[in-house]
């Protein structure tokens, strides 16, 4: 079966107004990131807060500027699957190296 060329890829891209609002959100999130970095009160929760803000910026660019929000879901799969693998490798390596050090330290202390 062959589909009509371009049949499933036609999609309405966001308007300039949406692009500007996304840009404003990205600037605000960046200002928040830098602000949180300099406020001593946030020291304890700095890493999770920064990761959430960074993930929000990442998602906004991918969804609206790269058009994955309205585009064919197969593109989401082509991007999302390797992204999940990359994050999985990152987490596994961190557990492997840093977790091993923590266990070694605990064994030494015990």
């Amino acid at each position: 079966m062959s589909a009509e060329p371009g049949a499933t890829e036609r999609h309405a891209h966001p308007t300039a107004g949406v692009y500007l609002r996304v840009a404003a959100a990205l600037v605000i999130l960046t200002v928040l990131e830098v602000g949180v970095f300099y406020v001593p009160a946030f020291r304890v929760v700095l890493v999770p807060v920064l990761l959430v803000l960074s993930a929000a910026k990442f998602t906004l660019v991918v969804m609206f500027y790269m058009h994955l929000k309205d585009d064919n879901k197969f593109f989401t799969f082509l991007f999302g699957a390797p992204l999940v693998i990359a994050v999985g490798v990152m987490v596994a390596l961190l557990f492997l190296f840093l977790g091993a050090l923590t266990l070694k330290g605990a064994a030494g202390a015990g």
Binding site: A3, E9, L53, V61, V62, Y65, L83
Partner: protein
Amino acid sequence: MSAHTSMGLDNRKMAFWAFIGSECLLFGSLISTYLVYKGKSVVGPYPPEILNIPFTSVSTFDLLMSSLMMVLALAAVQRGDLKWGKIWLFSTALLGLVFLGGQVLEFTEFVHKGLTIGTNLFGCTFFVLTGTHGAHVTVGVLWLLTLWVRALQGKLGRANAMTVEITGLYWHFVDVVWIVIFTVVYLIQ
């Protein structure tokens, strides 16, 4: 000219998304390496002594604005407004050049302060990660300038909107990688 897959998708766009997926793995491995060796340098300079957050924040803002210019260029080309398409394409390339200038300044300052790729684990992983990203930005700027020249020659019209969209995908990917690097390398010290 564009061909379509049996799914009705533009084959260049599909191939490019697969390429971006492979780039996720490349940058994932480089960021993992940086994180694994984080805090393991036995000699300085160490990240808090050398990283300039205000300067890098401006670079981050610059790259985010270049992404805005890129989508505005695509929107202009899609509606056949080549005058604004040329302006936004050039603006995107210009902001990319500003980002690269900032990176050259940053690297030069680090070398003067004693941090090179061979100084310590931080220097090695930092320069490889941010240098690879900088190389991607350089390719993006050359690509954008090529499109801009083609637009000036009148060879970039509404029919070539997919070419601009694919260029945009590359440019936005470079932007999202920087979003992660800015957080992981600069802000989480």
